[in-house]
């Protein structure tokens, strides 16, 4: 193995940091893929995979992806909710991997809500 120079530390850090950023629990955008039984049956796994592939292909480091339970609108699954700063959460319905790709570039990266696929803005009020 080649001996390290001080500037090599950055390169190593850069390489592993992406997987580790998750552990800080902070991100610019938070995406929840609804993976209840209904969601999975409707293809939520493919949605999750498409999302993770996009993140990897675009080398994005500040997007947190989590699985969430059934959002209550089982007939419109697969669904995902996107929480971006200064925006109310947006729920997308009837997703396909291609739609995810579009939402990724326009909403997650560009901050523009893709109204064609969106169900509504906002989440339920808790308590």
């Amino acid at each position: 193995m080649p001996k390290l120079k001080p500037q090599d530390l950055d390169k190593i850090a850069e390489k592993v940091k992406r997987t580790m950023l998750l552990r800080e629990g902070e991100g610019r955008v938070r995406v929840m893929v609804h993976m209840g039984t209904c969601g999975i049956a409707a293809g939520a796994r493919a949605i999750m995979k498409a999302l993770l592939d996009e993140i990897e292909a675009n080398d994005v480091k500040d997007v947190l992806v989590t699985a969430a339970s059934c959002a209550g609108l089982c007939s419109r699954e697969p669904m995902m909710t996107i929480e971006a700063p200064d925006q109310p959460p947006v729920k997308y319905v009837d997703l396909t991997p291609d739609k995810v790709k579009e939402i990724f570039s326009r909403h997650i990266m560009g901050g523009e809500i893709v109204t064609a696929y969106a169900l509504a803005q906002g989440s339920e009020r808790m308590l």
Partner: protein
């Protein structure tokens, strides 16, 4: 490879002994079964801290904290949380006396009230992967020191930070380094003391298991500052996992050229060997430790000369404790000014404590200096279990002392603790409740130091034995009127006549219990009574006929068949047969069994 979830499973010795490795295997198997292996990554970490609740799993990025995991719970957990995104409430932490679980680790008071410097990477990195340490600013302080600071500047920075030795005595670290640097002889040796021997203490083990590179980096910076070329990591043999992880860390650091010749291409050479401790308590004393590395019997020697002038093989040597070394990279990275803002006037930074004894959240905590004992015991430790009340906290292990409840608001720093008769020590903190006899506790520690005395100094070897005998007599109901005076006469004799700190501090548990709980000694001697109901020769169990419902639970649990009576009627204990095991007292639901 991008994952959406990191499942951080604690694999410290505590959690492993509770089955963490089996849980980890089950997790990986189940994740595969649910086809989530490309979504969820299982990461082994060290020292999550809430040891009493292990095995522990923290799921990131949500920060959900799961405790007391079993292999059987894993399939449900994986399906519900990892697949369907529904965190499992039944596996979450519930604060003592409450019912609602706290899902997020950042909201649990035990974690929320801590400040992590030495343990900055705990639960966040895989200790076996040097790259993960590097990704969290690892080895940057070493690069900074080697490329932009002179050795004198490094020492000045450590001095300005106010860092004091975390091994017990609290000697200013920068000053110690300066002495060693000033010694003209070469080569110079740099040693890490990881011979953690206090009963109930596991701070150093946790640092080594969770973050071995932080200690290596600290030592290498120290070597640069003092002109050291060879290091020794002296780890007690009873810590096999710490030794394994440290050896792996040393190999990885060598592969990357962070140990060995020409580190970072700057021409600086330093290498290090892991040395297994010889098994005696006294090996943690610095001159004994040096003798042990040399292959001599571990016995302390006269000082001066101090190790900084003549240590290992007669050469200048610097010894610091694990936690001290782990602080060094942070001080270099963040600066002395930042570090010195944490803590009190005379005690800077944080201190790691292992909380043990009668306390709800037994485990490992790191807190800023100056925090009160009350905050540690109640806010972080969650108070005393089984609705009993706090009696005292013991700090500093066999060298320390007991601090009573009216000093709970004492601020934790080197000097306040010393004024109270205890010491900071390496960070063992044992909490005892009202049903603990202080004479018996003092006897316990004396038994430990008596058997661990290396025998070199008469005062320690014979004096502690004599003190132990007196305490044994008092607990057996054979105390004499002048025993307390005799103990008070022997204690300073042992202190004055011992070469090393272990002998000089061994009487502390007796002295502090005499200072704060003298009435208990007097009750034992004058009234033949053990107020806490512990010393078997001085107590008797009896059943209060007013309170006894005749449920006969005590009858079933008595190993001697000493309890008799009709069902539904008050029971009685045959004092001839009773062996005072206390089983009836433990099981009675009506508090009808009394101890006198």
């Amino acid at each position: 490879m991008v994952y959406r979830t990191n499942a951080m499973i604690c694999t410290c010795t505590n959690c492993i002994s509770n089955g963490a490795l089996q849980v980890k295997d089950a997790l990986e198997k189940e994740i595969k079964k649910q086809h989530l292996e490309n979504d969820v990554r299982v990461v082994p970490t060290g020292a999550s801290g809430l040891c009493v609740k292990g095995p522990i799993l923290v799921v990131q990025p949500e920060g959900i904290f799961y405790q007391l995991l079993t292999v059987e719970a894993v399939p449900h957990l994986v399906e519900e949380h990892f697949l369907k995104g529904r965190p499992v409430k039944s596996l979450m932490y519930v604060p003592p006396g409450e019912e609602a679980p706290i899902p997020n680790i950042r909201d649990i008071p035990f974690f929320k009230n801590q400040r992590l410097i030495a343990l900055r990477n705990r639960g966040l990195i895989d200790p076996d992967e040097i790259e993960e340490y590097i990704a969290r600013d690892g080895y940057r302080a070493l690069a900074k020191a080697l490329t932009s600071m002179t050795p004198e500047k490094v020492i000045a920075e450590i001095k300005a930070s106010g860092l004091r030795g975390r091994g017990g005595a609290g000697f200013p670290t920068g000053q110690k380094w300066e002495f060693c640097r000033a010694s003209p002889e070469t080569p110079k040796y740099i040693i890490c003391n990881a011979d953690e021997g206090d009963p109930g203490a596991f701070m150093d083990r946790s640092v080594l298991e969770a973050d071995p590179h932080s200690v290596l980096e600290g030592m290498t910076i120290g070597a640069y500052a003092m002109g050291g070329t060879q290091g020794y990591m002296y780890v007690r043999a009873e810590y096999p996992l710490a030794i394994k992880r440290m050896k792996r860390a040393v190999e990885q650091a060598r592969d990357y050229g962070l140990l060995g010749k020409d580190i970072f291409g700057t021409g600086f050479d330093f290498d290090l060997d892991v040395f297994q401790g010889a098994g005696a308590f006294v090996c943690g004393e610095e001159t004994s430790l040096i003798a042990s590395i040399e292959g001599q019997p571990p016995e302390p020697r006269m000082r001066p000369p101090f190790p900084a002038q003549s240590g290992l093989w007669g050469k200048p040597t610097n010894i610091n404790n694990v936690e001290t070394w782990a602080n060094v990279p942070v001080i270099i990275n963040w600066g002395a000014e930042w570090f010195s803002q944490i803590g009190t006037d005379t005690s800077k930074g944080t201190k790691v404590f292992s909380l043990a004894g009668n306390i709800n959240n037994a485990g490992l905590v790191e807190v800023p200096m100056g925090i009160t004992l009350r905050q540690i015991v109640y806010d972080i430790g969650g108070g005393i279990p089984n609705r009993k009340s706090f009696k005292a906290v013991q700090t500093g292990g066999p060298s320390g002392g007991f601090i009573p409840s009216d000093l709970l608001d004492l601020s934790v720093d080197y000097d306040r603790l010393q004024e109270a008769g205890a010491i900071m020590g390496s960070g063992g903190m044992i909490v005892v409740d009202e049903e603990t006899c202080m004479v018996d506790m003092a006897k316990y520690f004396l038994e430990f130091t008596t058997s661990e005395s290396c025998g070199r100094c008469n005062a320690c070897r014979e004096g502690l034995q004599a003190m132990y005998q007196i305490l044994t007599n008092i607990c057996a109901g054979q105390g004499k009127d002048d025993d307390i005076e005799l103990l008070e006469e022997l204690a300073p004799a042992v202190k004055d006549g011992s070469l090393c700190a272990l002998g000089r501090t061994a009487p502390n548990p007796v002295l502090t219990t005499l200072r704060y709980f003298r009435d208990e000694y007097e009750a034992h001697i004058k009234e033949q009574r053990c107020p806490a109901g512990v010393c078997k020769a001085l107590i008797a169990y009896s059943i209060d006929p007013e309170k006894c419902k005749g449920c006969m639970l005590c009858v079933k649990n008595c190993p001697q068949g000493a309890i008799s009576g009709e069902k539904g009627q008050p029971q009685t204990i045959d004092q001839e047969k009773c062996i005072k095991c206390g089983a009836c007292h433990e099981v009675c639901k009506f508090e009808a069994v009394t101890v006198r």
